[in-house]
Assembly symmetry: C2
Homo-oligomer: 373 residues x 2
């Protein structure tokens, strides 16, 4: 299969869920897939060999953070992100748009590009679609994302409409500037929670033509129901023969709901971030290991789980590590939480293959695991 061609392997019979695959220079990706986040070129507290053991398919890294430290030239001179971080599997870099626009108070936006100040030292930087492509090509991920304009939530509808128009113009410039043949460039759909703007954004972005599409601008504080409501027509309007990537979303229940709408790719800091505060996903719902109820509980975190944390360590030990602030607690809980999400996508793929995704989702939503997400 030619590189980056998305193959639709099977469809669910009762939902829009689908199973697919695409090829990169660093291996195949089976969808639906969850991508662990390695913001600064490391999935926090988790070794590359552990990511392999977890059957991680793609790691996400952040262009904004790597551009500031260590700098994209250093990553390029190291031989690219794969060599730099010792991860030989597929990598996706976001464009950094989301990070820049979340620092709106230091930002100047023009048609040409965006000027911003570093969160680290206040130094001034300007990105255009063209320079952003240079930076992402230097980082050398398998998949790059266009530089987009991310309005906050809530925002005036006109502001969102402007962001859609400017994102489309920038997407075209990104596509024209992007030159690496071994790197796919995905477009990004914006439009907030406004279905008309979302569909306009789909149309404009698809007109340019990309091998995959990000759905951005969610997970910025909008109500969960409103997000799913506006996501449904967006997913349906995107081309069937290209992967669809819901950016920044990865809590288990929303991920499974979005898969039912035909979404293929996800990323989120949630599994590792919650791990670092001592919280584990489980088939019984979230568990806060700081809780004294686990102090003498010698069973595994989740008796249904096959990860190395659940097969090697007790709740009491994990509780002890969290309680005394030992690094290994964050590592072991991160491994478990990542396994939880990756395992969920594997089960979702199996359910799609067997045409029972609707039943799989219904079973999840009725289980204690769906609570409190």
């Amino acid at each position: 299969m030619p590189i980056f061609d998305f193959e639709l392997i099977s469809r669910d019979t009762t939902t829009a869920a689908r199973r697919g695959s695409f090829t990169t220079a660093h291996g195949d990706v089976l969808t639906p897939a969850f991508m662990p986040v390695g913001t600064r070129g490391t999935v926090k507290g988790v070794l590359p060999e552990q990511l392999t053991e977890l059957r991680t398919q793609v790691v996400l890294a952040n262009t904004y953070h790597l551009y500031l430290r260590p700098g994209h030239e250093i990553v390029r001179d190291a031989g690219g992100l794969h060599a730099f971080m010792n991860w030989d599997g597929p990598i996706l870099t976001d464009s950094g748009g989301f990070q820049i626009f979340s620092l709106a108070d230091t930002l100047t936006l023009t048609d040409d590009g965006v000027s911003f100040r570093s969160i680290l030292d206040g130094s001034a930087h300007t990105w255009t679609p063209e320079t952003n492509m240079e930076i992402q090509e230097a980082l050398g991920a398998d998949i790059a994302m266009v530089l987009d304009v991310c309005p906050p939530y809530p925002a005036e509808k006109q502001q969102v409409a402007d962001a859609v128009a400017r994102s489309a113009a920038w997407a075209r410039r990104c596509r024209d500037a992007h030159a690496r043949n071994d790197q796919a460039l995905f477009g990004i759909v914006q439009g907030g929670v406004h279905t008309d703007l979302r569909l306009e954004s789909v149309q404009r972005t698809v007109d340019i033509g990309f091998p995959g599409y990000g759905i951005g601008g969610y997970s910025v504080g909008e109500p969960h129901d409103l997000m799913l409501e506006s996501l449904e027509p967006v997913a349906a309007a995107l081309p069937e023969d290209k992967p669809r990537y819901l950016m920044g979303v990865g809590n288990p229940t929303t991920m499974l709901q979005a898969i039912a709408l035909g979404v293929d790719l996800f990323d989120c800091v949630l599994p590792t971030r919650t791990a670092r505060v001592g919280t584990a996903f489980s088939s019984q719902g979230r568990m806060n290991l700081r809780n004294a109820q686990y102090a003498a509980d010698f069973g595994p975190l989740d008796s249904t789980c096959t990860c190395s944390t659940c097969t090697g360590y007790s709740r009491a030990y994990l509780r002890h590590l969290v309680n005394v602030k030992e690094m290994l607690g964050a590592t072991l809980l991160s491994v478990h939480n990542l396994h939880f999400l990756i395992d969920l996508t594997e089960r979702a793929r199996a359910a799609v293959s067997e045409g029972r995704y609707g039943a799989f989702l219904a079973e999840w939503l009725a289980s204690p695991a769906a609570d409190d997400y």
Copy 2:
């Protein structure tokens, strides 16, 4: 070979260095050996499978810290430290004496035992030799240490003499109280930097009779030369057919010098503690990875090293992780630093076998690696 019997395998021809082995219920230990420190039941930032890969022979854990959190009863109920921390190899617990006596301002010492306040919540605790044995038996390490009295440095000679006498009396009570057949109990020699008191302590402790001897009360701030000077007659006076353990010492140069005096076992937090502040051991001396000189240095930490950090990652990447305070930096540097010390003991064993330990030590002392330790 019966459990805990120390076998002297070979002696160096020009120094007092020796190679030996002893058996525990969790495997054999070849000496000289360096024991990584897992204070709270975890070697900070390092997984048990990484310890195995590093050819770790024994892990040390701290009775004081585990007694306070999570409590020895919880460790006992978990099936002991091996099950609790998922480490199936040999474990040694110190008695906690060193920790208690470093908190001298909250301490009441009598012939019967010692009362102290918790560093965590100020709660009052009393240990006697007998209760300390109960605690260490509950933790269930392969080797326990007697409860000793550790005077500070500097101290009045009379205070050191009193500590020697009281330590001997407590050592006897520990031996009488200790009941676990699958656990060895080592005596501890005190006496500060006073050779006469050290030799008196050797005599008193050996009279009681233990399967191994700790040499305590060093690494408390005394000058390095004074320590080596008083260590020599102590090591020589200890029984040849028992292992000698220099407690709390593990900087590379001192360790190699002590091996030349006939010491067999070492432990130290140095490799993991220095790793957490971004410092690596190397054949060229210590390296501070915070230094900007490594920002674009794509070679390994130490080109002579075979550890997984040196074979997988560049100085530039490690410098980046340290610079942005990513957990993985501490983990990768800890792995390297532990490998450095363990590898050094393996090379020391080979040098003893070949009767060239004197030359091996001289070569080390003339190398850049011996600097600044």
